[in-house]
């Protein structure tokens, strides 16, 4: 078969709804796009532990503390699911992690914002995980088998993350004036970073067409963003709270909540490393990586010795 015939058969398989598996023929570009996406996603899960991890010791009761520990542990687990999925494409985990530590790899910019109060733990769950689930539910249908199966496992766990946050927000909204004020402040700070999580507008997104064609994505950034806004705005209003968007209105004709302009200058500033916490986040990752060096060294030394018959 010529390369062209292989490509045609590959695209027909995707059109039929078949999964592409690690040993199957795939265009080099498909492999590269997947490694880029899966590794960025893995980095986001790993860095995503930090804003919430900071509040574990300050949880107001034991139930909330166990929930938060479990949630942060889940993010670590999700990072592992994804690094192993990226490795099935021939990437090396070590190289991917090094790219993150060197500041060469991207991760979700939303995690470069600080978590300032306990209400942020509710709002991160409701808004940030809520936005992530939109994207992940779509990716659970992705054409690459290991990625889609990792996403199915992740989505099942993210449901807990989102709902524990939403439950907390509903309670604080019905709580004392001080609690309501704290909640509104957290929504004000996390709203736009959450809306930006869906990425650039479709008209500006250079990767979208290819990702859609190959069934890696099945919806566009703006479609997912609109779904998110339509779901969240009425509920936030129902709680007697607002979103920090003076232009937002409900359009009867399209039945959409039409949001105001997104501050893309801020988006690019944060992507380029100038967000409030970029340096702090990477420093924490580097420290963790250095602290774990002896473990990696030990398990490889043990494996080598075992291979040489030097240990039982």
């Amino acid at each position: 078969m010529t390369e062209e015939q292989k490509l045609q058969e590959f695209e027909e398989r995707i059109a039929r709804g078949e999964k592409i598996e690690p040993g199957d023929w795939m265009p080099e570009r498909y492999r590269k796009q997947l490694i880029r996406m899966i590794s960025q996603h893995a980095h986001s899960e790993i860095v995503g532990m930090l804003p919430e991890g900071a509040w574990i010791t300050k949880a107001p009761n034991l139930r909330r503390k166990m929930i938060l520990i479990s949630k942060v542990q889940d993010e670590a687990g999700h990072g592992q699911y994804l690094y192993h999925a990226a490795e099935s494409l021939g990437a090396k985990r070590e190289d991917l992690i090094q790219a993150l530590l060197d500041g060469r790899a991207k991760y979700a910019s939303v995690f470069n914002y600080p978590s300032l109060t306990w209400a942020d733990m509710g709002v991160i769950g409701w808004l940030v995980d809520g936005a992530a689930i939109k994207n992940q539910t779509m990716l659970a249908r992705a054409s690459y088998g290991p990625y889609s199966r990792a996403m199915v496992r992740i989505c099942a766990e993210e449901g807990f993350h989102m709902k524990q946050g939403k439950e907390m927000c509903i309670r604080y909204a019905q709580g004392t004036p001080k609690q309501r004020e704290m909640l509104q402040d957290a929504i004000n700070r996390w709203w736009w970073p959450s809306v930006m999580m869906f990425g650039l507008h479709d008209s500006e997104s250079t990767n979208s067409a290819e990702l859609l064609k190959w069934g890696i994505k099945t919806k566009t950034n703006d479609e997912l963003r609109q779904e998110f806004v339509n779901e969240l705005v009425p509920e936030i209003h129902a709680l007697g709270l607002t979103v920090p968007d003076k232009d937002i209105y409900f359009d009867e004709e399209s039945q959409n909540w039409v949001y105001g302009p997104i501050d893309w200058d801020e988006f690019w500033q944060v992507v380029r490393g100038n967000g409030p916490c970029n340096e702090e986040r990477l420093a924490a990752r580097r420290q963790a990586h250095e602290d774990g060096a002896w473990v990696r060294e030990a398990i490889h030394a043990y494996a080598d010795k075992k291979a040489q018959g030097l240990v039982a």
Binding site: R16, G17, E18, K19, E21, P22, G23, R63, M66, I67, S70, D74, G77, Q80, Y81, H84, A85, E87, S88, K92, R93, E94, G145, P146, S148, R149, A150, V152, R153, A156, E157, G159, F160, M162, K163, Q164, K166, E167, I170, Q174, P234, E235, A238, L239, R296, E297, I299, H300, Y302, A303, D304, K306, A307
Partner: protein, 178 residues
Amino acid sequence: MAYEDTKFEVFKQDKEDRPHEAVGTVHAPDEEIALQHARDVFARRPDCHNLWVIAEKDILKRTIQEIDQLIVNDSDAPEQTYLVCVKTGKRRAMTYVKHIGEVTANSHEAALKEALHKFNHKKNVYVWWVFPQTAVTQNDDEDIDILFTPGLQKAYRQPNQYHTVMPMRRIVHEEETA
């Protein structure tokens, strides 16, 4: 420092009487760490009774199109037990191949030939895997409690433990009737 890891296929058995199914791969320096990774990547939440890890190099994988080219060379190697796995159907699923039984043979190729004969009643097979039983590393039964049970005990990790739908509906209703 650059480490070379080995690629392992992971099989998960949900319950004692269920077949082992291939759920994905992990990369690790040896089979012990591979088993640990397999637990962390594939069995943090769902039901699991037993995990297998098998180095990919120990597995003969053939699609149905490749079966015609199967060449079985004479071998003096001793006979041993090979495990046989198949993928049936092309629908999307959470697993790849499924363990269906054993054959005795003295090479991977002879094992596959024997499997084609023994399991010829299997319909719609389009991928075959065979590997020697000795290539399998699995968790000990006595580790089941440590590895898999904690995942089932933490009720607060279930989304249905959180009440958001009814309270939200009540709030919206009160607002509308106010």
